[in-house]
């Protein structure tokens, strides 16, 4: 009888344990998201109170040439990043998927840029790619080649920054691919060797198909990652030259914390949210219809 008396609160106990997480999630994530959605219909400079302006922030965004360019920059950056980190990551993984002495050291070195601050990476690459005094410029000059303005040419700058992001993050996809590669049974590969399959055939006919769940996972992760490019752009180009490296996240920052157009910045953030949402749905669709592990 006594025990049952004490049981009255057992229904609430799990909630009690969940409470810190729920409060954190509400205060730092969900409420700000809802609040930002409300703000996207207002004009607000942080001073005074927000003015409701209906859809005008969204209308303004899609009627501004610079915003449309920013939007297409974002897509271009993501494409370069996603394709780059899959190919480069896979290449590195295959390269180091061997058993030699101190391979762990090489793995750690390749992984190092992933944990390095993006601002530091940006500054160092600015020096490497810098005109006249940069390392790349000097090497090319010795070969009698005039180096282009990697970051100063509007046609090149976005590709350059996205490539540096690929360089920085390739170690991450490498680790993912490496675990995938090590899951492929040696017997299958040995059987292929016995059957006389060449190295190239083995890679494209066996390794790659068996990796497809990993490829899908890396694809998903790098699509999400590809929108997190603020720090590198801030450190390397500040959105220039001529708006050519301005992306949606950088535009949100500029509008919110430099121009203090909080309403407009929220609208841009929600355009990004919808865009990422659509991509995620697409991802799930692909997963259901394509990326099934081979039986």
């Amino acid at each position: 009888m006594k025990n049952r008396k004490l049981l009255w609160h057992s229904r609430f106990a799990p909630w009690l344990f969940l409470l810190p997480t729920i409060i954190g999630l509400l205060v730092f994530r969900l409420i700000p998201i809802v609040w930002a959605f409300v703000l996207s219909f207002t004009q607000w400079s942080l001073l005074g109170s927000p003015n409701f302006v209906g859809l005008s922030n969204f209308i303004e965004a899609f009627n501004t040439e610079a915003f449309l360019q920013t939007f297409s920059n974002t897509i271009e950056f993501s494409l370069i990043y996603v394709v780059g980190s899959i190919i480069f990551g896979l290449f590195l993984a295959v390269l180091i998927n061997i058993k030699i002495k101190s391979i762990a050291f090489f793995r750690a070195v390749i992984y190092l840029p992933v944990v390095t601050s993006a601002v530091a990476v940006g500054i160092v690459w600015n020096w490497i790619l810098g005109p006249n005094i940069g390392l790349v410029h000097s090497i090319l000059a010795n070969l009698n080649i005039t180096a282009p303005y990697w970051l100063g040419d509007p046609k090149l700058a976005l590709t350059t920054v996205a490539s540096v992001q690929v360089w920085k993050m390739a170690g991450y996809s490498m680790i993912l691919f490496l675990s995938g590669l090590q899951g492929i049974s040696a017997e299958t590969l040995e059987a292929a060797i016995v059957d006389g399959a060449s190295k190239v055939q083995r890679f494209f006919r066996i390794t790659l198909p068996m990796l497809s769940p990993t490829v899908f996972f890396v694809l998903t992760v790098s699509i999400i990652d590809s929108f997190k490019n603020f720090e590198l752009i801030y450190a390397m180009t500040k959105g220039g030259p001529q708006n050519s490296t301005n992306t949606l996240v950088y535009d949100v920052y500029l509008n919110a914390f430099v121009y203090y157009r909080v309403g407009y910045a929220s609208a841009v953030a929600f355009v990004l949210l919808v865009f990422v949402g659509v991509l995620t749905l697409l991802n799930f669709y692909i997963k259901r219809h394509w990326a099934q592990p081979l039986e």
Binding site: W127, G152, G240, P241, L254
Partner: protein
């Protein structure tokens, strides 16, 4: 029975302690009435200890006042203080920039200081021209901030390079033609490898690089009646002269050629023999330049379209919260931290104190330090001045994190050869006026 006793004891304990607590809070209330606490916000982290010295000295003179100094770095300062303004929790005294005062005054977030300034000796101990310069940036007829430092823009020049080229140093009679021909002669390929090692001049779209020339020619980028981007003939002449240095004379580099060097280091590293920027760069020049390098400062040469050049300069100031509980005490402290309480070592060299006694002291121009022409700063502080700030300025001008955008980005595009000046101006008129129209109906 035991339970009842326990409950009674608990109630008794609580009520007794609350009575005491009540008494205590009344006591502290009384103390607070005697002791006035002022919150003071600044953005220069290097001055943390100096600020404590100021506070200690002030509190000694005013035993009933306690000052709390909060330092927030410039990058976060405006976001944080805007949120405080929104919550009606502004610190009593806080640093104010010339670029934001107009917006703050318009929103009623700064205390009007007219009656305070008129009722004491403020006009005698501070430079009245500086007080008025800050009144002008508020776009009202009232004083909303008390300046503590002025920065102007000057022409930095490498004396060694001038000597080597056999040129006379810039002087007040220098014309733009003199400047252009000097820049050409100062452009040299020292090791004959086909690349220029020292440019005569250098600039990019940055406000402190371009606007000084516009105002030295009596021009204006904006039509101040309509508050729209509409560069007048004198301003166009300045823009043309500057961009021609790169495109025609080849005596200045493109923006992209200098992009891997911190902008403030190009001149002290002797990559360019002349440069225009804010006077606070004197400090960086002293730190970065080879100690043996001879360099000086001069006024921006007067343009061909005017006899009355205007100095491009702006002030950093203190403002007082409109809802401060102690306006008189806040004013007394503001006057102290903008003047008497300061010493020259609290200024970045090249910033000009608005407090006359400091600027006019001998220590202001240290004869053992470069540049030898520190008196020019004093002359500039006493000349006709203007700023270029408007609401939405950092967006249309392209400043800070937006530096590669706005007008800055367009001028860079011209000197980088991506578009002509006409194209840039057409593009700029469109996009800049969209921004300005948001703030000025």
């Amino acid at each position: 029975m035991k339970k009842l006793l326990l409950a009674m004891m608990v109630i008794l304990t609580i009520s007794i302690s609350s009575v005491f607590a009540g008494g205590q809070s009344e006591e502290t209330q009384a103390k607070e009435d005697e002791n006035i606490v002022l919150e003071w916000w600044t953005w220069d982290a290097d001055l943390k200890e100096k600020n404590q010295e100021i506070i200690a000295a002030y509190e000694e003179k005013h035993p009933n006042v306690t000052i709390n100094n909060t330092i927030v770095s410039t990058k976060e300062y405006w976001t944080k203080i805007r949120i405080l303004a929104n919550q009606n929790k502004l610190p009593d005294v806080f640093t104010m920039s010339s670029s934001t005062l107009e917006e703050w005054a318009e929103n009623g977030l700064v205390l009007e200081l007219d009656s305070y300034i008129d009722s004491d000796n403020t006009r005698e101990i501070f430079y009245p021209k500086l007080l008025d310069a800050v009144k002008d940036v508020s776009a009202t007829d009232h004083y909303y901030a008390l300046p503590f430092a002025l920065v102007t823009t000057t022409l930095f020049y490498n004396k060694d390079a001038f000597d080597e080229a056999g040129l006379e140093y810039p002087n007040d009679d220098w014309t733009w033609d003199d400047f252009r021909s000097a820049a050409k002669k100062l452009t040299v390929d020292k090791d004959n490898d086909g690349t220029i090692d020292q440019y005569g001049y250098w600039f990019y779209g940055r406000y402190a690089h371009v606007e000084p020339w516009v105002y030295a020619n009596g021009g204006s980028l904006l039509n101040h009646d309509t508050m729209r981007f509409e560069p007048d003939a004198a301003a166009l002449e300045a823009l043309e002269m500057l961009t021609d240095l790169v495109l025609v004379d080849k005596s200045a580099p493109t923006q992209k050629d200098m992009s891997s060097v911190r902008q403030q280091d190009v001149f002290p590293l002797e990559m360019a023999a002349m440069w225009t920027d804010g006077s606070w760069n004197i400090n960086n020049n002293r730190l970065v330049a080879d100690p043996s390098l001879n360099w000086g400062i001069a006024k921006i040469p007067t343009g061909p379209s005017t006899d009355n050049p205007i100095t491009y300069a702006w002030a950093d100031s203190y403002s007082i919260a409109p809802n401060t509980k102690h306006p008189q005490e806040a004013w007394e402290f503001t006057k102290y931290v903008a003047g008497e309480g300061l010493s020259l070592d609290m200024y970045l060299v090249g910033k000009i104190p608005s407090f006359k006694a400091l600027t006019e002291s001998d220590a202001f121009a240290d004869p053992n330090q470069k540049p030898a022409e520190m008196y020019i700063l004093k002359e500039q502080a006493d000349s006709e001045m203007t700023t270029s700030f408007t609401k939405g300025w950092s967006e249309w001008r392209g400043y800070g994190a937006a530096e590669s955008l706005g007008l800055n980005g367009l001028i860079d595009g011209v000197i980088n050869g991506e578009m002509s000046l006409d194209e840039a101006l057409t593009k700029g008129t469109n996009s800049i006026n969209t921004v300005l129209a948001r703030y000025y109906k």
